[in-house]
């Protein structure tokens, strides 16, 4: 069997290549710092502890979602089911814990069930994608519709208020000034880091992104890795759902609206390549912060609502243009 198909012709001066990569990996962070500096100049309120807390609140959900999406994108796949998974989880949670619509009060157990639901959604993504050989783009797009649709069907269009104190505490109770939800998000980051750096799954995900056929030759169970990765992502989306429900204090079918593109943008702005194999969850953290700080900053700087989305677009182009390692990306698609 010939393997030429996946060769990398480059063999130019190595050390420089490596150094460039180091810089590139840090570039998003530099962008973030510049951004914060700029905003502070215009509105000093930005650099207050209070605002840091609010940014963390705004960032916790995108971060958790981004963690899940990172693993998928590292494989060179894409996951559009973010909103589906999140919405379904949030709605089911609102129905299981102490709420204003029914007499359930499963509390912690309810959260467990929701995480299982998320895993199930991700697992379904993975299995259909791998077994039926359908591009992840399409499978997860379908799952998006299914997830939101199911959530809608469960609610019959209504919204359910969540009264469970434990859930609400995620948004209200604080530790060291930060809401518990933020700490939960950080805990998820830790888990993601461990999975990425210290488990075979994490390594195999990189391997798939680097060259799936070669990975298979090394005896890696490619299909299983993919399914596991999607399942894992599903769980993260479920956590995102829990946080969203906690933040809004209710579950409704619109709770996920608009979160997909924020998530993927954050991951890519962080410097993870859509082509797979390059990136990390830490870079996603930076990417999320860039996106969140940007939208928070535009309000602080008094950018008129109708041009905010445009400004955001330009800023993101700038951020990515600054931080992309062009040497490494021979082909940009």
């Amino acid at each position: 069997m010939t393997l030429d198909a996946s060769i990398s012709p480059s063999q130019s001066a190595k050390p420089t290549a490596r150094r460039r990569w180091r810089i590139a990996a840090w570039a998003p962070l530099i962008v973030l710092v510049l951004l914060c500096g700029l905003i502070t100049l215009i509105n000093p309120n930005f650099m207050t502890f209070g605002n840091m807390v609010r940014i963390s609140q705004a960032a916790m959900i995108p971060l958790v979602l981004g963690l899940g999406a990172t693993f998928i994108i590292l494989m060179g796949s894409i996951d559009l089911s973010v909103e589906g998974g999140l919405t379904l989880s949030a709605v089911i949670l609102s129905m299981l814990v102490l709420n204003g619509a029914n007499s359930n009060a499963f509390g912690m157990f309810g959260i467990l069930i929701v995480l299982l639901v998320g895993a199930g959604v991700g697992f379904a993504n993975g299995v259909i994608h791998v077994r039926l050989k359908i591009p992840s783009f399409m499978v997860t797009l379908g799952m998006w519709f299914v997830g939101v649709g199911a959530a809608n069907a469960l609610l019959g269009g209504m919204a359910i208020r969540i009264n469970d104190p434990m859930i609400r505490s995620l948004a209200i109770e604080r530790f060291l000034g930060f809401p518990l939800g933020v700490w939960l998000a950080l805990f998820c980051l830790l888990i993601a880091l461990i999975i990425q750096n210290y488990t075979r799954l994490g390594r195999y995900i990189y391997a798939l992104g680097g060259g799936e056929d070669l990975a298979a030759l090394s005896g890696i169970p490619v299909g299983r890795v993919r399914i596991l990765a999607f399942t894992l992502a599903g769980v993260f989306y479920a956590v995102g759902g829990v946080l969203a429900a906690a933040q809004l204090g209710l579950g409704n079918a619109q709770i996920g609206t608009g979160r997909l593109f924020t998530t993927v943008t954050a991951v890519v702005v962080g410097g993870t390549a859509l082509s797979g194999g390059q990136g990390s969850v830490l870079q996603t953290l930076v990417g999320v912060l860039i996106v969140v700080v940007l939208s928070n900053g535009m309000v602080l700087m008094g950018v008129p609502p109708s041009v905010q989305i445009g400004v955001q677009g330009l800023m993101i182009i700038a951020a990515v243009a600054l931080s992309i390692d062009r040497k490494r990306m021979r082909i940009v698609k």
């Binding site: 609610l155 809004l248 619109q254 608009g258 979160r259």
Partner: protein
């Protein structure tokens, strides 16, 4: 029968990968029997149709309930269409229904965007169906130009109610302080009108300052983020929050709660959804306006149905019956409990024959 059909039709082209396609098709086939929820359409009675933005928000969900209740009351087939915010889809679906029922239909539509009304009316007239529109339509499109098919247009002037809420808010604030305002989708007529009302109220109260107006597109999530940013930017300067609908208002309340200020800073919404009324009872929300979507969903159909079945002849009705403002109910802590008991705890009782009961004057276009 479905399964046979499939295997028959696809049996030939599929030589290889049968399993795979089989799996896919079973997916489809399996679904079909499950989803044919309604019996064949009753030939004589007109089909009654509600076309609304989506069923994922309480407001339109209640609207849908009202429609179903009316359909039940006259024993007609009931169909719900959702635009999902997509004008083309909304119109296409309505045309599909017209084609399916051969025009024997009564349609009560909340157009996704004002201009959609025109093609909808054109299609309905061509098919001979009867239409009632609500909220959105172009100013120069009038029911009396399309007798008898375009029965009526119902709206609720956003201006007075937007103003009323602003006044409720200002009263709670003690006549002075700083307000931040959350607006709806910028191109929507109600959003524009409600904002206008807010501005009028502010003009009348010089001591109250509008700190900032941001668009949150009717969305709770966006409202939450905007409010969070405001709490940084203005901190304690904010003594009141005005929101163009309840979803955004409730999100603002949550943002305040996370800041430990829920209930301390008065917030107002509009639409009168259940959670909002509950929030008023809890004292977290200062007020809202109930359009009574249950009434909108049912009565829109009732008016059209009456015209269709010859109870009245649209052409003979006065203009204030063809383009009229409905009545909104202002809910504050004073009447929240009673409203909850009558309209939410219990299935609202409606007299579907009292079709002009809530007419509050002809719509004025400036």
């Amino acid at each position: 029968m479905v399964n046979k059909l499939i295997s028959g039709a696809l049996g030939k082209p599929i030589k290889r990968r049968d399993i795979l396609k089989g799996a896919g098709l079973i997916g489809m086939a399996g679904v079909f029997p499950a989803i044919i929820t309604r019996p064949a359409f009753a030939a004589d009675k007109p089909t009654v149709v509600n076309s609304i933005r989506s069923l994922s928000n309480p407001y339109h969900a209640t609207w849908n309930k009202g429609g179903a209740a009316f359909a039940k009351s006259v024993g007609a087939d009931y169909v719900t269409l959702v635009t999902e915010g997509n004008s083309e889809k909304g119109i296409a679906d309505i045309k599909a229904i017209l084609a399916k029922t051969g025009g024997n239909a009564v349609i009560n539509v909340d157009p996704n965007d004002s201009p959609d009304a025109r093609p909808i009316i054109d299609a309905a007239k061509a098919a001979g169906a009867y239409v009632v529109t609500q909220w959105n339509k172009p100013a120069d499109l009038h029911p009396w130009d399309y007798d008898p098919n375009y029965v009526a247009h119902i709206s609720f002037s956003g201006v007075p109610y937007g103003k009323a809420m602003a006044e409720t808010l200002i009263k709670k604030m003690g006549g002075k302080g700083g307000i931040v305002a959350l607006g709806g989708i910028e191109s929507n007529v109600p959003a524009i009108e409600r904002k206008k009302g807010l501005m009028e109220a502010l003009a009348a109260n010089p001591d109250v300052k509008l700190l900032d107006y941001q668009v949150a597109n009717w969305s709770a999530t966006e409202a939450l983020e905007k409010t969070n940013a405001w709490l940084t930017q203005f901190g304690d300067q904010i003594t009141g929050i005005w929101a163009a609908n309840d979803d955004m208002a409730l999100a603002a309340v949550e943002a305040l709660r996370a800041d430990g200020r829920a209930g301390k800073v008065p917030v107002t919404g509009i639409d009168g959804i259940q959670l909002a009324v509950e929030a008023i009872q809890k004292g977290e929300l200062a007020g809202t306006v109930a359009w009574d979507p249950y009434w909108q969903g049912g009565m829109g159909l009732a008016i059209g149905y009456a015209a269709k079945t010859g109870v009245f002849d649209p052409a003979k009705e006065p203009k204030e019956h063809r383009e009229f403002y409905g009545k909104g109910v202002i809910i504050t802590d004073e009447n929240a409990n009673t409203y909850y008991a009558e309209n939410i705890a219990a299935e609202p009782k409606m007299d579907w024959n009292d079709i002009w009961g809530r007419v509050t004057g002809q719509i004025q276009y400036d």
